[in-house]
């Protein structure tokens, strides 16, 4: 009964509205906190929305449930997105989001584990999440558990050699219960990925390492959901989903701008962004 915890029969338009609300939450958090990484969070919101609303076998009332699917946000700097999704899914109270990044708050500026329900591991130093996910997936296989492990990487993160150590490991050990999801928004910290350290041919690299690779539009809810639709032990290959996304997705002046990796929205920019996110259907 893998689909036991399928959260809802959320319709596509509902998913879109849900994702837009989450984007608005993210920008409010980053505005209040005067923090960074708005663009990095916005690009992955549609992926996280589908995961948490439709795919992951998780139960907010039992965050440590042994049979849960594991989700590791390896691009820990985009944590505002994950926190907002977890809060809206009921893992913790929404008002925790208001204190994000502040003195004495619960939610740190990179994914931090300190007893936050729904957070599997702390990340923030790039290139750590996939190896941890491999360890979780390996235990799942060895102990004949049917949970799946999802690890979300950024594109810039794939500069880290440790990503490729894990990329070698997972196919060798036939971790078909492992899903790597890459938020390929094409922009990293200082410049375009293609200018910093080109990843292309990206899909071919993962294929050559032995992964089952899909490329999708990371803002198309049908494609996202379909990409996850395979049995947990489908083909003895780990799964790599390269999601083509837009950095800063949802706010026109943030989209595809390096600037919004670091910048936080001021009052006017926040108002403009919220009107775009909450105003359009």
């Amino acid at each position: 009964m893998r689909r036991l915890m399928n959260h809802s029969n959320t319709r596509k338009s509902d998913l879109f509205l849900h994702a837009q609300r989450t984007r608005a939450d993210v920008l409010r958090m980053i505005h209040l906190a005067k923090s960074s990484h708005a663009g990095s969070a916005l690009s992955m919101i549609d992926l996280l929305t589908v995961l948490y609303e439709k795919i992951l076998r998780v139960d907010p009332s039992r965050p440590d449930w042994a049979a849960r699917d594991r989700f590791v946000l390896s691009k820990g700097h985009a944590c505002a997105g994950l926190y907002a999704v977890l809060a809206s899914r009921g893992f913790f109270p929404r008002d925790w989001l208001n204190d994000f990044y502040r003195d004495g708050a619960r939610l740190a500026g990179h994914v931090t584990w300190n007893g936050i329900p729904g957070i599997e591991v702390s990340t923030g130093a790039l290139g750590h999440g996939l190896a941890i996910g491999c360890g979780m997936a390996l235990v799942g296989k060895r102990d004949l558990q049917d949970y799946r492990v999802f690890v979300l990487l950024s594109d810039g993160e794939c500069d880290e050699g440790s990503v490729w150590e894990a990329a070698l490991f997972a196919p060798h050990h036939r971790l078909d219960n492992l899903v790597v999801l890459i938020d390929y928004n094409k922009i990293q910290s200082l410049a375009a990925v293609s200018d910093v350290l080109a990843l292309e041919p990206f899909a071919a690299k993962w294929k050559a390492f032995g992964w089952r690779v899909q490329e999708i539009d990371g803002h198309n809810f049908d494609q996202i959901e379909a990409a996850f639709d395979f049995p947990p032990t489908a083909n003895e290959k780990p799964n790599c989903i390269i999601a083509h996304t837009i950095k800063g997705k949802g706010v026109d002046f943030m989209e595809n701008q390096v600037l919004w990796h670091y910048r936080f929205p001021d009052d006017q920019e926040l108002a403009a962004a919220l009107s775009q996110l909450e105003g359009r259907e």
Partner: protein, 320 residues
């Protein structure tokens, strides 16, 4: 120590099925027994220590007790951030085991000299740091860390060290073992220098000096009581380690002594200097180069004791 470790690990694994062994493609001739006995609890992660350590953390967070195993600096410095973030921060049940502490792989050159590991691992929160002094301690330490929740670093020598303990020991993490009683000087030893410490103590006896010898097998948590007892009950303190004098046992003991509020005591850190070792040679050869042979240590201890006789706070001075 290596043999003792694997024997003890096998015994622990028989008792506790959560125990897994993850190796970084090293351990030829010693990992096979574990692999054959527990094929589903053994993993060769390949020559990829960052991945090995991250995987170990992921396994530990899924309920396992994971021993990672490699040599020299590979399971520690090579993947230090994985050790810090993935293992220590999550208080993951990962036991990092390195064979080749100090100059055990001396002739293999600088890359294989593990001489800053204790300092660096000691600084990490949640990390327990253990460096047994002989095969008997190595066996006991392995059993002890298997039962201790949370991250541990076990620094071993190599194969074939002498057994130093003549009698059965009571091994407890964080409690030094006193091998020899004396009041003129305390020699505090960590890791494989223990045999040297005992030989030096024997040589001092011939010269009419009685040395207390402590095996400080646990660097963290440190047995401050044993250090303060040495401060009170003996006339000088020497630390002995096959490790840099920066940050290891000598520094840890100095921290305790200097913050104790007591008057000073003649004190000397014996270890490896702060430069890279460029000489080529065996463990014995390199120890001698760094003043860590029996003769070299004896000379340093005698100098310290002689100086302590002139020390204003020394009991020697008080008696005169």
């Amino acid at each position: 120590m290596r043999t003792a470790f694997f024997r003890a690990l096998l015994q622990a694994a028989e008792r506790d099925e959560r125990i897994h062994l993850v190796v970084g493609d090293l351990g030829f001739g010693v990992v096979e027994t574990f692999r054959e006995r527990f094929p589903n609890r053994y993993l060769n992660a390949g020559v990829a220590e960052q991945n090995m350590t991250g995987i170990a953390a992921g396994m530990a967070l899924s309920g396992k007790i994971v021993f990672t195993y490699s040599i020299a600096n590979f399971p520690t410095l090579r993947c230090l951030e994985q050790v810090r973030n993935d293992v220590c921060y999550h208080r993951a049940n990962v036991k990092i085991v390195a064979v080749g502490g100090g100059f055990a792989y001396g002739a293999l050159g600088m890359t294989h000299h593990a001489v800053e590991d204790l300092a660096i691992l000691r600084a990490l929160p949640e990390m327990t740091v253990v460096a047994p002094g002989d095969p008997i301690e190595a066996s006991a330490a392995t059993q002890a860390i298997a039962c201790r929740p949370g991250p541990c670093y076990l620094r071993l020598g190599r194969a074939g060290e002498p057994v130093v303990h003549a009698d059965p020991i009571r091994f407890e993490i964080g409690k030094a073992i006193r091998l020899r009683e004396g009041h003129d000087v305390t020699i505090i030893s960590i890791g494989g220098m223990l045999a040297t410490a005992m030989e030096v103590a024997n040589a001092l006896m011939v010269r009419g000096l009685e040395a207390r010898v402590l095996s400080m097998h646990t660097l963290k948590p440190l047995d401050t009581e044993a250090i303060m007892a040495a401060r009170r009950e003996t006339r000088a303190v020497v630390t002995l380690e096959e490790h840099s004098v920066i940050g290891g046992l000598g520094s840890a003991v100095a921290e305790v002594l200097s913050e104790s509020g007591d008057r000073g005591i003649p004190f000397k850190r014996l270890g490896i200097g702060t430069s890279f070792t460029t000489e080529i040679g065996s463990q014995e050869f390199l120890r001698e180069k760094h003043g860590l042979s029996v003769k070299g240590v004896l000379r340093s201890v005698e100098c310290l004791v002689a100086a302590s006789e002139a020390h204003p706070t020394s009991k020697f001075a008080a008696e005169q």
